[in-house]
């Protein structure tokens, strides 16, 4: 008995749901960014799993994972920069106080 595709998919699904819960629930914007990283990682697991077990199993899934990692790194860099700018101006990084475009 070896590891099947559905076990990898289930691990990725649980990881995605935990990340989604954190992104919706947490107040600290750094933790929200980390939760988004968690969701992207779950998708990466799916891509690599399908690059081994999929119908057209090829190395393309791993290449797409590398591109996803690049975009995630760029997103985190810009996100942290925005948070630092906001902390300087508003003295808070809580997401429920980011409402200056709503008023």
């Amino acid at each position: 008995m070896t590891v099947t595709l559905s076990s990898y998919l289930l691990v990725a699904l649980i990881l995605f749901c935990v990340g989604l819960y954190g992104a919706l629930r947490k107040r600290n914007a750094i933790i929200v960014l980390l939760s988004i990283e968690l969701m992207l990682n779950a998708v990466n697991i799916n891509l690599v799993a399908f690059s081994k077990f999929g119908l057209n199993a090829a190395v393309t899934g791993q290449i797409f994972t590398l591109f996803t990692m690049t975009v995630a790194a760029a997103e985190v860099a810009v996100g942290i920069a925005i948070l630092l700018a906001m902390f300087r101006n508003r003295d808070s990084i809580h997401v429920d106080e980011m409402d200056s475009m709503k008023r």
Binding site: T2, L84, D96
Partner: protein
């Protein structure tokens, strides 16, 4: 029951455990440490899936760069920050029902599909994973590869401009 199954259970347990601890810890610095465990375990899962280059990139980018960047973000904002009370934008049960519903629907989809149509991909023992990825990137994915370098440059410049102190003029 072979060794890969035991390793898979161990890595999956560490992955999910790190994520759940990340959600349940109260101190922000502890959260970043526990998500580092998750990132390293995901790299282990990639090794188990015979994607060694992706696993090394995962350790370099996620548990190296992104965790340290998050720690810098915490140190530069409120370094003793703690997640005392959750947000009151929406009630607790609404988020819970949304996430649980998504989980149940997708889990039903995973388990009602017959995945075992084809055997897993057989690797050529003479070609390494890195060489395979390199050949594929520089034959079929040249344009995305170059575009990603432009994206990284734009993100770098944008992050510096966003984070630097604004002049008073």
């Amino acid at each position: 029951m072979d060794a890969s199954l035991i390793i898979f259970f161990l890595l999956g347990f560490l992955t999910i455990g790190g994520a759940v601890f990340m959600i349940s810890f109260t101190k922000v610095a502890h959260m970043v440490i526990s998500i580092g465990v998750t990132f390293i375990s995901i790299a282990g899962l990639f090794v188990l899936l015979e994607a060694e280059f992706v696993a090394v990139s995962q350790i370099l980018v996620y548990s190296g760069a992104i965790s340290i960047l998050m720690l810098f973000g915490i140190m530069l904002t409120k370094h003793d920050a703690s997640e005392d009370e959750p947000s009151k934008a929406q009630p607790f049960w609404l988020t819970w029902i949304f996430v649980a519903g998504l989980f149940l629907i997708v889990a039903y989809g995973i388990y009602s599909t017959n995945w075992n149509v084809l055997p897993p991909r057989q690797l050529d023992p003479n070609v390494s994973n890195v060489k395979e990825i390199g050949v594929e990137v520089f034959t079929n994915f040249v344009v995305p590869f170059e575009l990603v370098s432009v994206l990284l440059l734009v993100a770098l410049v944008g992050a510096i401009i966003m984070a630097k102190k604004e002049d008073k003029d």
